[in-house]
Symmetry: C2
Subunit: 407 residues, 2 copies
């Protein structure tokens, strides 16, 4: 195995030292999984990143304190109820559910993260959740099916479970990273929420793990735009069991880089799966901005394009409408000179420094636009900086999904 990580089949249970399950507790849904539990065989190095929304849900407020200590052993997650805008009661419920998990697992409650996604403004149904926790604690397993059940339990409007795993050699040891996520597709009825859970058997210090999660998120989850809305519950968790037996990673260097290559593969795969499964999406779109004057210009322009309702509807309409793409770059705040800019769909140009696609070129573009994976590239030709954002189109179904609900 090379120093570079390789993708493998797998998910939250691919790394050694973890058990998981997904069970039904009727939090909101009947006849489907809505509680997931991930448990390590001993306390792990832990890191997490949370929403920057000022309206942060109770579990986010609770977990921020847990994350500060850099140690955790279990993560409880439920779908169906976000435990957001629930005030003091919400904080009490977050603590109570962590305590219920701790009691069942006979561990300290300060080692338990809790994550919720679903309806805002309603309290967690604590009686059903506590029953669910008991059921989950006795259902833990290490099979692929257990990982899949956990991935299914966190789904809301996601149309499919999202899992990924990768391996890399560190010294003589094989280190595995695996994870699961739910998409930023909007949860009925109230929220867009992104939840990610990653486990690894790497031996690594909490401070290096914290650094790793920040680097990985910058190249994955933070590169995904579905509709630009940011949830009250967005969270990404990372637990490291150390059971791979590698020399503990405690500083930057080759070992850390190897670990990062595996972690980034997993995080980026989960992020891409989220963009592909954006609500109502018919197209997975990669927006590239190249030749920007500054890194910040590249980022701004790419994000503006990925968020533009006009650009997104044109992708849905299979229309190589480069004017909307360039105009979004133009209002992003980035430096843009239209007569120096080029716009490509796939490898075909639509606008090139003032030149507009003729009929022959339009035919090529029309073919490119049919694909369900589309790269939209803007070359600004003003500098050397570039940025990539993963997104999706804006379809009739997006409006259906988000309008056809009554609270």
């Amino acid at each position: 195995m090379s120093k570079n990580a390789k993708t493998i089949e797998g998910g939250i249970l691919s790394a050694k030292g973890f058990k998981a399950c997904g069970i039904g507790a009727e939090i909101k849904y009947k006849g489907r999984n809505d509680v997931a539990l991930i448990v390590a065989s001993k306390p792990c190095a832990a890191a997490a990143v949370f929403t920057t929304n000022k309206v942060a849900a109770a579990p986010v407020l609770y977990d921020r304190e847990i994350a500060k200590k850099g140690k955790a052993q279990a993560i409880l997650a439920n779908s169906g109820c976000a435990n957001a805008c629930t005030g003091r009661k919400g904080m009490e419920d977050a603590l109570s559910s962590a305590k219920a998990v701790a009691k069942e697992l006979k561990i300290d409650s300060s080692l338990v993260f809790v994550a919720s996604t679903g309806v805002i403004g309603r309290p967690l149904p604590m009686d059903r959740l506590v029953c669910g926790i008991k059921k989950a604690a006795s259902s833990l397993g290490t099979a692929n099916e257990d990982a899949l059940n956990a991935a299914k339990a966190i789904m809301t409007t996601d149309t499919k479970p999202k899992q990924a795993a990768a391996q890399v050699k560190i010294g003589s040891k094989i280190v595995t990273v695996g994870g699961m996520a739910k998409g930023s597709g909007m949860i009925e009825p109230n929220m867009a929420t992104m939840l990610g859970f990653i486990t690894t058997d790497a031996a690594i210090t909490p401070s290096m793990l914290k650094r790793a999660i920040k680097l990985a998120i910058a190249k994955s989850f933070n590169r995904v735009v579905v509709d630009g809305d940011e949830s009250t519950n967005d969270s990404l968790f990372l637990l490291a069991s150390g059971e791979a037996g590698n020399k503990p990673i405690d500083k930057a260097g080759a070992d850390f880089d190897s670990f990062m290559s595996a972690l980034t593969l997993v995080a980026a795969s989960l992020a891409r799966q989220m963009a592909k499964d954006g609500e109502g999406a018919t197209k997975f779109v990669t927006v590239n901005v190249k030749g920007a004057k500054t890194q910040s210009d590249a980022e701004r322009a790419a994000r503006a394009i990925a968020k533009s309702p006009l650009a997104k509807t044109s992708w849905f309409g299979k229309d190589p409408n480069w004017g909307r793409v360039l105009a979004a770059a133009g209002y992003s705040g980035a430096d843009v000179e239209d007569m120096k800019a080029e716009v490509y769909y796939g490898n075909e140009w639509a606008f090139k420094k003032g030149k507009v696609a003729d009929c022959a070129q339009l035919e090529k573009l029309e073919e490119v636009m049919q694909s369900d994976e589309l790269a939209v590239t803007v070359k600004l030709n003003l500098g050397k900086y570039e940025a990539t954002i993963y997104t999706c189109d804006f379809s009739l179904d997006y409006v259906h999904i988000n309008a056809d609900y009554t609270t």
Copy 2:
């Protein structure tokens, strides 16, 4: 007549000293008006405000220079072609069309503004435009019908022409302000463009007129959000003929305030008409944020709510989905404390400091949501600042209009 302005029936020809027309030149559309010409009987004080998009269309680049001098006598506007991303050729065409107008009217070409809206990246059909200019110069009139024809000539995906007028007494004189606009609904195929044209017979210096347009726009056009996309061609023009005979307004004070009250009425009416006629809109929505800690917080929160696809689709779905509204405020950057916040639809509360609407309250909310004019109010209860944004919902037709086009 009181010091406060009153709305009257009218448009671009309500003020004394102007002629106008709208004629068909087949710029893009056949069998409809697509060239408007507004002409004053003598050079006027003039002011204008333009898009901040880095990709600014040729007419915008051209007009910025005209506006610096504070004097103008005519405005030419065409729909069907934006003359954007057209490079040097575009600048030459803007100049040529101003010169053609000047020649027909026997005035100096430096007194002519030009405005375009339509397809990006294609040159103006200059032969047809020059024919149109000749036809327009010989079609000028002062009747209501001429004003209406002009208002129709600038329409693109607008479903109706937009006109407004107001009067106010300044000293012993009645001063009139009137105008027309085209919406920020997205033009087929490429752009969202807002164009506004306002005339007045007030006597006022160019420097005070410049101040007036900036104040007016802050309370009107800059308060409208349709989809958050900003066009390459957005422009607002203001000409003052002085024919009302009032003592010229050359400083701040009571006369300026009176003028501002009339100008603001007209600008705000045009802005509201644009929001109501947003592409595919089924609801006109006024977003109010109150009790913000700072003015900037109030603005940010109101704009984030008005732009949120999740909030906009919930309005379309008649869903009192306060969670999406509050979450948008939460990620806007404004200070928000969910347990202090309140969300109202019309006069009915949906969320009040942690309390969620019960069944009886939900019934009232459901009734409010049926209306085609909806006020969404968030009280943050953290300070004394407030902001209002006019917007519309996000409907299936928005996606239809913007997807079902092939370049």
